[in-house]
Every structure is written in C-alpha cells, then in structure tokens.
C-alpha cells in the first residue's frame, strides 16, 4: 500500500482530540473581533486520533536513529542520548516555565542556566559564557559580533576580514558574511594550517582568525599555540569553532590554547538529541576582555538570588527571543553532571581511541590522505574506487543496507571523495568491528560487483531518490488536486 500523507487520509467528519466547550459567556466572533477579516477555508488534515497516531508512528520507523545503531556522521558527534536528560527537561517546573516571569518566579530555571554557564567556562577555560545562541551557527555569529564590537570599542573598526582555513565548515564563512566581514581563505598543508600561509594572510584588516580544533580532518593543529600568538600579534582575535570539543573535554581547554572566544555545540559534545535536524544550542565562551560584549541579558547572582541584568552598555544585544534553547541547556547540564570530571575525561579519551582504532583498520582498505593519529574523527578518501566506477556516494548508500548510517560524505571539501567518520565514545568495540566489516565488504563489492553499489540501497524503505528531479520540479508542499477525482472505493490515495 502506498504511504499516504495525513491530509490524503480521513476527511470531513473525522477528527482528533476534543477541546472543552467554552464555559465563559460566549459571544459571536464578529462582536469580539470588530473589523477583523475571518478566513473562509483552512485545509488541514481531518483524521481520527488512532489514524493520526499510526501515521506518525509508521513514519518514525522509516528513520535511522542513534538508538538503532552506529551513526558515524563526521563533525556531528552522534553519541548516545541519555533518557534521563529528556525526563528532567520535561519536569513541569522547567517545561512550563515562562520566559517573561519575574526573576523570583523562575529561580530554578535561572539556576540551571547559571550552573551550566559556570561548568562550560570551566570545561573550556574561559571567563564567561552566554547560553543564548540557538545553535552553533548562531554561536559563530554571536562570537563574531563580539569581536566586531571589541575592535570597534578600540577604534579598530576597520578590521573586517576573517581568516578561515579551506577545511572549515560552511557556517564559518556564512557567519562571517552575516556580520559584514569578509572571508580570507587559507589553504591547509598536510591537513593543518601552515604558519607561513597564516602569517602572510594576517594584516591590519584582519579582525579574526577562525579555526576548528581539531579541524574537520580530525587533526589537532600541532602549532596551535603559535597560531593564536600570531593572530594576537597582528591585533586579531582568535575564534574557535568548538563543534569538535568532544575531542578535547577533560584533555585540554581551548582557553589555554590562546583563543579569545569559542562556541560550543551542546547537541554534539553534550549529547542533546538532534531531533532530526534540531534543536541544538550554541553557547559562546569568551575570555575576560570580551565579557562586556556578551548578549543581553546576562545572569548575575546577588544575595543568593539570580537576576537577569540588562544594564550592559557594550553588549552586542539580544540574539534570541528569550533565553536560548533552554530545554537543551537542561539536558546538557544533566549530562555533564551525570558524568562528572572523570566521566568527561573518558569522553575525549573514548572518542579518540575509537576513531584511531577504526581509522587504522579502515586504512588497510580505503585511502587515508592524512596518516597521522587523528583525534575524534578521521577522513578517508573513496578516490581509489573511482576506477571501478564507484563513487563515495555509492559507498554511503550501500552502507545503509547494513543497518548503519553512512559517514559524512564530500566534506571537508579539501579531500577528494571524502568519507568523514566520527564514531564517538559511546560505541562499543563490537559496533566498530561490525561497521568496519561492512566497509570492507563494500570495498570488495566495488571490485567484484560494483553494480550492487550503484543500485544501493535496496533494503531501505525507499530506493535511491532522485534529487535532481526534486530540485527541478520543486514540489515543496502538498496541494489538493484541482479536479477532485471520484473517491476511489478503497480510499486509494487521491493524488498520484
């Protein structure tokens, strides 16, 4: 049976949960809303509760997810999402807390934020943290705005370029553009930044150097202290894209590496669930000199009570409707408090161990462009399969047939036919071995029977989907068929 959208089911007279009848004295809408134009039609689904529930549950099982198996998307840190985190975020006092409460009426919620900011500052080695940005990209923007405000406060507003390595994530240059800065791209050398190239790029217009550490190849810049020193010497600020903090928690603190500001992806390092695309949370941690520029409001503790303070004239302003993705902040604090200092240390240790184990094993089968030890992730190249007419995309699709998710592919852009693999620390040795076996088998198939790869996936709910057609036809919403077809007797779908 063809899967139907909810709006293709049910119909007039089918309906879900009931609402109460109004028990206040009811008056006609026209009287309550004088001058308002009421709408005539609203074409939303009309189905019974049982059918609505089934629809979404049926859809759910079409997804791969972390509770099903390995999800080795490089740069995404798909680790175990503990259920206790969700439970705590759902406590009524948190879930129903209103963001415009009086400070005295939300001390619990504010306490969570304050504790999280404190812990993140300790973990990253910075002086202060804002938890307002809703995701990593917004964290970048916030950090860059603070850098801009800092330069301006020193009369250096003419600094308007940001040096970004070619291995950087796309949000970096996009955020740079958003604050009105320009990106200066520097090429990597042997996978890491060349000091010479950096020195050459730095000048009086440089506002910041923006780095990902470990970088998107999973490599730790060996001369990182020199990099931040050079940046500072040139009057620039050093920005850390902290998406890969998972490799560093408990091992080294970014603040100690000479950075001035960084963002943190709670939905990566701190295990908040990805929700099929979001929500995340992108707190920004800063060194002391940037603290006056933090977004408004900031939290201050006085006489044991927490207060939201707006009186920060140098602040870059507000970046979120309220206090950021609070529900994610709760989860992150539960997570890091569950682990504690030793548990956090085991995070980076486990992540690095797992990645290196998998890298060495797979390097026997796939090309490994950068052979040094990796941190929490590594990048292979599928280039060698090209001669069999097989692309990295085919490898990715074929992996789906083995019940594991594919790695990130074609990123970072500097590796040809890239396969970017991040197993995370919560995967067991058994899982890593199963994954490696699947990868090895696929490499054999590429030689022996490449068509299997090109036809993959075969065991998934749908076969390979035509992305080109999607982009050409651009059907991005359902529309009711113009000519209502006569209703087929067995409720067959009303749209072909």
């Amino acid at each position: 049976m063809r899967r139907r959208l909810l709006i293709e089911q049910g119909g007039l007279g089918h309906r879900g949960p009931a609402l109460p009848r109004a028990d206040v004295p009811v008056r006609p809408l026209a009287e309550l809303l004088p001058g308002a134009r009421l709408r005539a039609e609203l074409d939303l689904p009309q189905v019974s509760e049982p059918e609505a529930v089934r629809h979404f549950i049926e859809l759910s099982v079409l997804n791969h997810h972390i509770d099903r198996g390995l999800y080795p998307l490089g740069s995404c840190t798909m680790k175990h999402n503990p259920k206790i985190n969700d439970e705590i975020a759902g406590l009524q006092g948190f879930a129903l807390a209103h963001p415009l409460s009086a400070d005295e009426g939300c001390q619990g919620a504010l306490r969570v934020i304050a504790e999280l900011q404190k812990a993140l500052a300790k973990i990253t080695g910075f002086a202060a943290v804002t938890t307002q940005p809703a995701a990593g990209a917004q964290g970048e923007l916030t950090g860059l705005l603070m850098i801009r405000a800092w330069h301006r406060s020193r009369g250096e507003g003419e600094r308007r370029t940001v040096i970004v390595p070619d291995s950087a994530h796309g949000t970096n240059p996009a955020s740079v553009a958003l604050v009105g800065y320009e990106t200066v791209t520097v090429a990597s050398e042997r996978g890491t930044l060349s000091l010479a190239a950096l020195s050459q790029a730095l000048d009086a217009r440089t506002a910041a150097v923006m780095l990902t550490v470990p970088n998107t190849l999973g490599l730790f810049e060996p001369q990182i202290l020199e990099v931040t020193r050079l940046a500072h010497r040139a009057g620039a600020q050093a920005y850390l894209d902290g998406a890969n903090l998972n490799a560093m928690v408990g091992l080294v603190r970014p603040g100690d590496l000479g950075f001035d500001v960084m963002h943190i992806n709670l939905h990566k390092t701190f295990s908040t669930p990805h929700g099929g695309g979001g929500p995340g949370a992108g707190p920004v941690a800063v060194a002391r000199h940037l603290e006056p520029f933090l977004p408004l409001p900031v939290l201050e503790e006085r006489d044991g009570a927490l207060h939201l303070v707006h009186d920060r004239p140098q602040s870059v302003g507000r970046v979120h409707s309220f206090h950021g993705n609070f529900g994610m902040l709760v989860r992150a604090l539960v997570y890091l408090s569950s682990l504690g200092p030793e548990g956090l240390r085991q995070v980076s240790r486990g992540a690095i161990l797992n990645a290196n184990y998998l890298m060495r094993r797979l390097a026997k089968t796939y090309e490994l462009p950068y052979p040094q030890p990796c941190m929490h992730e590594f990048v292979l190249s599928g280039q060698g399969l090209r001669k069999h007419g097989v692309k990295t995309l085919d490898v990715a699709k074929r992996l789906l047939d083995f019940g594991v998710h594919a790695p990130t592919v074609y990123f970072p852009l500097i590796v040809d036919e890239a396969l970017m693999i991040e197993p995370t620390e919560t995967e067991t040795l058994d899982r890593l071995d199963d994954f490696a076996e699947a990868m090895e088998r696929i490499a054999r198939e590429a030689v022996e029977n490449p068509q299997v790869l090109r036809d993959a996936p075969r065991t998934t709910p749908v076969g390979r989907l035509d992305e080109g057609r999607a982009a050409r036809e651009l059907i991005v919403r359902w529309s009711r068929p113009r000519e209502p077809e006569p209703k087929a007797p067995q409720g067959t779908p009303s749209r072909a």
Partner: protein, 456 residues
C-alpha cells in the same frame, strides 16, 4: 556514570591494533604545556537518583511548577495533546540527525514536507521552509531576504513588534532599522506612509501585534509594495487559524493592481504543540511567495521518486545553504528546530482543521471574558481601544510588578509585567487566557487583580 562500554582488556586490544603503546601516543599533537593535569571543576558524577533530587528541587522553585498562567507575549501555556509527546519522544524522531541520507530518513523528511504544507496553508503562501530558530530570527531572516532581493538597506518596523524581536533585529542589522510610532497600540497606515522611501527594503509588522491588537495587514502590504519594498508579516498561528492570512491577496488590491498579500510571512510556532520551556526551544517558521524560494533561508524538503517510481522526499535547493554556498549562502543557519516542527505537525495533524479553529476561538472567548471582568474592576482599564485577539494590555492602578507579585503568592501569574521592557509601561500587564483556562480560573484571576488593585 559513564556511557562508554569498554573493558580495560578491550582498550588494550584496541591500542595494540592501532599500533601504539598507550593512549598518550595518540595525542602528542596536543602541546604538553597546556594538557589538563587536574580534574575539571564541574559538578558530579551524579547517579540518576541524585540528578532527579537536585534538578527536581530546582524545578520546584519555578512558579510554573504550580501556578495558573495568564502569561503571553510570544510564549503561551497551550494544550498539548498527549499523543504529541508520545510521538515526539520516540527515538526515531528525537535522536535522528538532519536527513542527509534520505533513504533512511523518510520519517523526518515526510514530516518536514507535511509541516511545510501546513505552514503554507496557514499563512496563505506558496512555499515554506523546515523551521528557523524562533520568531525573532525568523523576522531577521525575512529582513535579510528583503535586503538581498531589493538591494535596499533600510527595514521599517510598523507598529508594535515584540520588543525582543526588535532587539534581535537590531543586533543583526544595526542602525538600519526604523520603527514607526504606534497610535493606540496599532500602526496607522498614514504613519507608515511617512516612513517609507526608496531605501526601504521591507516593512515588517506583527499581526496580531505585541499588544494583542489586530493590524490592517492588507493596507500595510499595499503601502510597502507601492514603495517598492517587500511586505513581511509576523503572525501568530492561532491568529492564522481564524483570520484571513496576510499572505493571500485580498479582494481589494492596491492602486494600479498592486499586490495586497505579504511577500513573506514568518512567526513563532511554539503555540503549536510545544511547551513554553522557559522560552526555548521555540519554532520559527518562514513562508514566502514562490518567486523568493531561491533566497529562502534554511532547509526545504521536496517531493521526488526513487528508482522504482515510489514517492519519497529529499532536502532540496541545498545550493542556497552554507555547506555548499559558504559565504554566499542565503543564511548561516544549519541546525534548526526540527523536533519542534515535528511537534507542530503532529499537533496540527491531530487537532486538524476543526480543532485548531476551536483552540483559537477558545482563546479569543476566554481572553475577552477576562477583559470584560477586568474592565469592571476599579482602577483597571484596557490600555488600547483597538480590536484585540488573544491577549490584551491592561493598565493597572498600581505597578504591574506589584500585581504580579501579589498574584504569584496566590498561585496566579496574572500577566506579563511590561515594565520589564520600558519604564513607561510599568503599569501595563499583558494578559492572555488560553484554552487551558476555564471560567473559574479566570474569575479567580479577576479576584486577584481586584485585591492587588487596592495595594499601593
């Protein structure tokens, strides 16, 4: 606590397979001088028992743990059907990543497609995206789109936009934001006219606006279009359930056939099945006319087929996005609010056409009943005379903060103290009575107000 399942023996085997003697050999790139040599100063480790105790105590400190809420201002205490939680908490939805491998993400992708369809229907627009962070950044993205599209810089905010949204807009856009004065809480089209000019990229208005009042969307749209600017409406989905959507052209078009529908309709979708959660995660939505689709920020799902012709859905137009377009991307957004969009889809799917309209009407009835009661109380009066929808501003005989405190102590959160935004609003209380409130609660609220009105 540790979520790592590994024995010492396994670790030994792994190190041997890697070909190093110890873990230290793997991290030599990290300068020894900065390696952490002491435990992090963070709380824990805590067992789940201890987590529940510690966080449970904190949660109980919040008013929300017990009080009845009349708070609004962008986030509301709405009914969430039990099935929404059941579905949204399934690992399949909650723990999946962005649907990069469409063949194993048809659950997420189909839901995004359904979400887009529903948002289009509600707003009256042709296309919608998969979500943005919140209402505030949705307004920002709309303004940015208008600036790119028109190659003009200035953004005119018409009337009472949520002060926090305005603040975020200013953070992103700096000095390029102008605000028209409001008259009695609403934007008078004449005032907008005066603010328009050839440098204006778009007109942004909220409808119903921050004070709960209806604007005249089609008149504002026409004015914007006549000035060559885009019209951006920021709407409450519950308003869209009952009111003619600003995105749709009205019967009476502007002069010389100027389109009277908005070009972009954005807003905050928290009210659709998402808890207040102290203001986040929220749900920014973004819809626009089809001609603007290539400038739209964020992810878009589209219909296609697999090799056997079966319908399926994929992310499309990724060339707009940062991971391909980098500094030229339409936006820097990457992670969005997918799970909130899912909740909204399930919510709308469950309540459907009839249910959503009933929710909206209950809010209208309850809020108007509250207003009627309040206006009978000595010293209280509505601050504005215009038509309000599901919230209204009440001017109090004492500072709103006094009423708020008085209510809190009695288990009633009587409204948002607008003095928090501007000193001249310090006697203003923004009041919303959602479908979750019943008559007896509203009457209790009125009693609290009455008693508080006597304080000074």
């Amino acid at each position: 606590m540790s979520y790592v399942g590994r024995t010492r023996e396994e670790e030994r085997r792994m190190l041997a397979a890697i070909g190093v003697g110890s873990f230290e050999d793997l991290v030599t790139a990290v300068p020894a001088s900065v390696r952490l040599d002491r435990p992090l100063e963070v709380p824990g480790p805590l067992s789940e028992i201890e987590v529940r105790r510690r966080f449970g105590k904190w949660a109980a400190q919040d008013d929300a743990d017990r009080a009845i809420s009349f708070l609004g201002g962008g986030v509301y205490d709405h009914y969430i059907p039990a099935a929404v939680q059941t579905i949204a908490s399934r690992s399949e939805f909650a723990t999946a990543y962005t649907p990069y491998q469409a063949e194993v993400a048809q659950g997420t992708l189909t839901v995004i497609y359904e979400f887009q369809s529903m948002i289009c229907e509600l707003t009256g627009m042709a296309v919608a995206n998969a979500s943005l962070y919140d209402g505030a950044t949705a307004v920002v993205e709309a303004a940015l789109l208008a600036r790119h599209q028109t190659r003009r810089a200035r953004v005119v905010v018409a009337g009472a936009l949520h002060p926090n949204y305005l603040a975020v807009l200013r953070t992103y856009l700096g000095g390029d934001v102008a605000v028209t004065a409001d008259r009695g809480g609403q934007c008078a089209p004449e005032d907008l006219k005066g603010a328009l000019g050839p440098d204006v990229a778009c007109v942004v208005y909220q409808h119903p606006n921050f004070f709960g009042l209806l604007e005249s969307p089609h008149a504002l749209n026409v004015l914007a279009h006549e000035a060559g600017a885009l019209a951006v409406a920021c709407c409450d989905p519950l308003g869209l359930a009952l009111l003619e959507p600003p995105g749709r052209d009205a019967v009476e078009a502007g002069a010389a056939g100027t389109r009277s529908g908005a070009d972009v309709v954005v807003g905050e979708g928290q009210c659709l099945g998402n808890p207040p959660s102290f203001g986040g995660p929220l749900l920014g939505f973004f819809a626009c006319s089809s001609s603007l689709i290539r400038r739209m920020p964020g992810r878009i799902a589209a219909q296609t087929v697999d090799r056997e012709g079966r319908r399926g859905f994929v992310l499309t137009l990724q060339t707009r996005e940062q991971h391909i377009r980098r500094e030229k991307a339409t936006s820097n957004i990457c992670t969005n609010q997918g799970l909130m969009a899912l909740r909204a889809t399930v919510y709308l799917g469950l309540l459907g056409k009839a249910g959503l309209a009933e929710v909206a009407e209950l809010c209208v009835q309850n809020t108007h009943y509250a207003a009627t009661l309040a206006e009978k109380l000595s010293g209280y009066r509505r601050a504005h005379g215009g038509t309000f929808f599901r919230e209204f501003v009440l001017e109090c005989p004492v500072e709103a903060a006094v009423v708020e405190r008085f209510g809190r102590d009695r288990g009633v959160l009587p409204g948002v103290d607008l003095g928090r935004f501007r000193p001249e609003w310090r006697r203003w209380l923004l009041v919303a009575a959602t479908e979750q409130r019943d008559r007896s609660e509203i009457e209790r609220w009125a009693e609290v107000l009455k008693a508080a009105g006597g304080l000074s």
